[in-house]
């Protein structure tokens, strides 16, 4: 385990850090020790805007996916028979048998002006609605990537909630809805937070949805990273973006873990 961590995380990260201080001369990566890349990127208004936007997009994706996933995961954990549950869990895994790129791209058939949805809306006298190259399309792409995982993680957490607690709440005349928010959600808190964290992490680094469905305008950090390399071979600046992303994700992951496990230290 430590060997793998050193090889694939620590060493790669160290290389990224070193590269962020290198320079590019005539499109050629040149060893150097300059802060120019950091100053350039952190001083650029477009980088600050893009950073904020990416954090907001990923947060929104985590919130929306958690909200949509919860009723599904709840029904799966408490309402359906074991056979149906097995079938649905299997079906939630099947999207990952296909490339995410293909799945995202196929949304274009549904969302464009002449697409399936607008055709249906047209039949009832509505639309056409602009559903591509905007935040809505990007979110649809993000949900394509993360929703099944969020449902599954929430389900695994909910299914392990102690049924005696729920029964006790009912015996004490606690209403159904109140039982969900007072008993079930706190008991499944760890899974729910981890699911949202996964959603944030995957959306934060995603390139496919904001570029192919969102139209690259405005861009996210992953697009900015690709742009840095594509036109100017600015690998060091791409490294600055990448390190910023890694650092952000580490902060978010630690904050989420603290939130999930931290408040467990209650007084006896």
């Amino acid at each position: 385990m430590p060997v793998w961590q050193i090889l694939f995380f620590v060493a790669a990260m160290a290389f990224l850090v070193v590269m962020s201080f290198w320079s590019v001369k005539s499109f050629r990566l040149t060893p150097d020790f300059t802060f120019a890349n950091w100053i350039k990127m952190y001083g650029a208004g477009y980088f600050q805007d893009t950073y904020l936007r990416t954090v907001l997009y990923a947060s929104l994706a985590a919130a929306v996916s958690s909200a949509i996933a919860f009723p599904c995961a709840f029904g799966l954990a408490f309402r359906v028979s074991p056979n149906v549950r097995r079938l649905i869990v299997f079906m939630l895994m099947t999207p990952y048998f296909t490339s995410y790129l293909v799945r995202s791209y196929s949304w274009k058939i549904v969302l464009t002006e002449n697409g399936v949805l607008n055709t249906l809306f047209g039949w009832i006298g509505l639309g056409p609605f602009d559903m591509t190259s905007n935040l809505f399309a990007t979110m649809v792409g993000y949900l394509t990537l993360i929703l099944p995982i969020v449902i599954l993680l929430q389900y695994f957490s909910l299914v392990n909630v102690d049924r005696n607690l729920i029964e006790a709440a009912h015996n004490l005349r606690c209403g159904r809805l109140r039982t969900v928010f007072v008993i079930i959600v706190p008991a499944a808190k760890i899974g729910i937070i981890l699911a949202a964290t996964f959603a944030f992490i995957l959306s934060f680094g995603d390139f496919v949805s904001p570029s192919f469905l969102g139209g690259s305008k405005p861009p996210t950090l992953s697009i900015l990273m690709v742009d840095s390399v594509k036109s100017g071979s600015q690998w060091p600046r791409a490294a600055v973006v990448a390190l910023t992303m890694v650092f952000t994700l580490l902060v978010v992951a630690f904050a989420a873990l603290t939130l999930a496990y931290g408040s467990g230290k209650r007084g006896r």
Binding site: W22, R28, S133, S216, K217, P218, D227, G232, S233
Partner: protein
């Protein structure tokens, strides 16, 4: 002798840095460089090119006739091509296909060899292309044109009329609000806007004009439907998300037309850009004789016809003998490519002076233009 290890046999710092630079270069090249194997190293020609040139429909007859294998590494932008050449181990590529605007950079960096004009059928080329300025430095030939095309705008013929797209001004019309698309590369888009601004040549502008150009670009933000890579551009045009796109030409329109999409290309009254693709031999190639043979094939009439009608995209060709063969064997393609001798053809547009060679910025750094592009995308 170069000292690479110290007394204890440890690798010196210089050697380590050289090694890591090379490693970084390989990483930057995407780890997908053509591989050498002992069995193939004698007969494989490694080509670095835009997509499509290494496909079987283009180089199949050459491979069959000679027994050599052409292995292509594809790139999607001129700067990426230079970076790949710079960072790859010597001898990785034997032939490089480049846009004309990068030939001087390649030559100045010592990355490509001088060519012998006698090796290639330049006398069969249209006179305009026999001594194409970008390909010659100090009267020495460094690159041979293989195909070219014009960039202006492409538009949806069901949404816009030919008259409406006669000027780049159409992009600011309320009719196309949210319907202007662009390919994600600063160069063709900003050069077309520079033409609209009245700059001749469009790439050679002073800083004040460049600031005005940026403002003009930024003013298009509200009109945009999206910016994307080629797959995304094609999908935007097909799905009618974008009705008009600057910096794109007949090569894309013809591909879409083949699929029944109502898209046509136009060179607006302010003029258009010429893109050219030409072949050079990297200085570090170990198989320069084979490289010459591949270039000879691609500039021969048969190679030219294959280049003109390649499945990746159609293009105009500079060799008149190629035009003749195209008219004889594929008259319909000659018609659609406007390569007929007996009626108005693509060379007329060139002769009328509406076409300017696409070039990299002359008075500003590429980085400044790139940054303006990134800012625009952020709006």
């Amino acid at each position: 002798m170069q000292k690479t290890r110290d007394k204890r046999g440890r690798i010196s710092r210089r050697r380590f840095i050289e090694g890591t630079t090379a490693l970084a270069g390989v990483a930057a090249a995407g780890l997908t460089l053509p591989r050498k194997s002992n069995a193939q190293s004698q007969e494989t020609i490694n080509l670095l090119s835009w997509p499509g040139h290494g496909a079987q429909d283009v180089i199949g007859p050459f491979e069959e006739a000679t027994g050599y294998k052409v292995q292509a590494k594809e790139y999607t932008g001129g700067e990426e091509m230079i970076a790949l050449l710079q960072s790859s181990p010597p001898g990785t590529f034997d032939v490089v296909l480049s846009d004309a605007e990068y030939i001087h950079q390649l030559q100045q960096a010592g990355l490509i060899d001088e060519l012998d004009p006698g090796d290639y059928p330049l006398d069969d080329y249209w006179p305009e292309f026999q001594k194409f300025p970008s390909h010659w430095v100090d009267d020495k030939l460094y690159s041979v044109m293989v195909d070219y095309g014009f960039l202006g705008m492409v538009y949806n013929t069901e949404k816009l009329t030919r008259e409406e797209v006669d000027s780049y001004a159409v992009m600011w019309e309320s009719k196309v609000e949210g319907r202007v698309g662009m390919y994600d590369w600063y160069l063709p888009n900003m050069m077309c806007l520079s033409l609209y601004q009245g700059n001749r040549p469009p790439h050679d502008i002073d800083d004040k004009t460049f600031e005005d150009l940026k403002k003009m670009l930024f003013s298009l933000s509200g009109q945009m439907s999206g910016i994307g890579v080629w797959s995304s551009v094609f999908s935007q045009l097909t799905n009618e998300e974008s009705w008009v796109m600057p910096g794109v030409g007949a090569w894309a329109a013809l591909l879409l037309e083949n699929d029944g999409v109502p898209i046509k290309a136009v060179v607006p009254k302010e003029g258009g850009l010429q893109w050219t693709e030409s072949l050079s031999i990297p200085s570090s190639s170990q198989k320069k004789d084979l490289a010459v043979k591949l270039i000879q094939y691609l500039t021969s009439p048969e190679g030219q016809v294959r280049e003109a009608t390649k499945s990746a995209y159609w293009a105009s060709i500079p060799n008149k003998e190629g035009w003749k063969l195209l008219n004889e064997t594929m008259p319909e393609a000659a018609e659609r490519l406007e390569h007929r001798f007996d009626k108005r053809n693509v060379m007329d547009e060139f002769k009328e002076g509406k076409i300017h060679i696409r070039n990299i910025p002359a008075q500003q750094d590429i980085e400044d233009w790139n940054e303006a592009w990134t800012e625009f995308k952020n709006m």
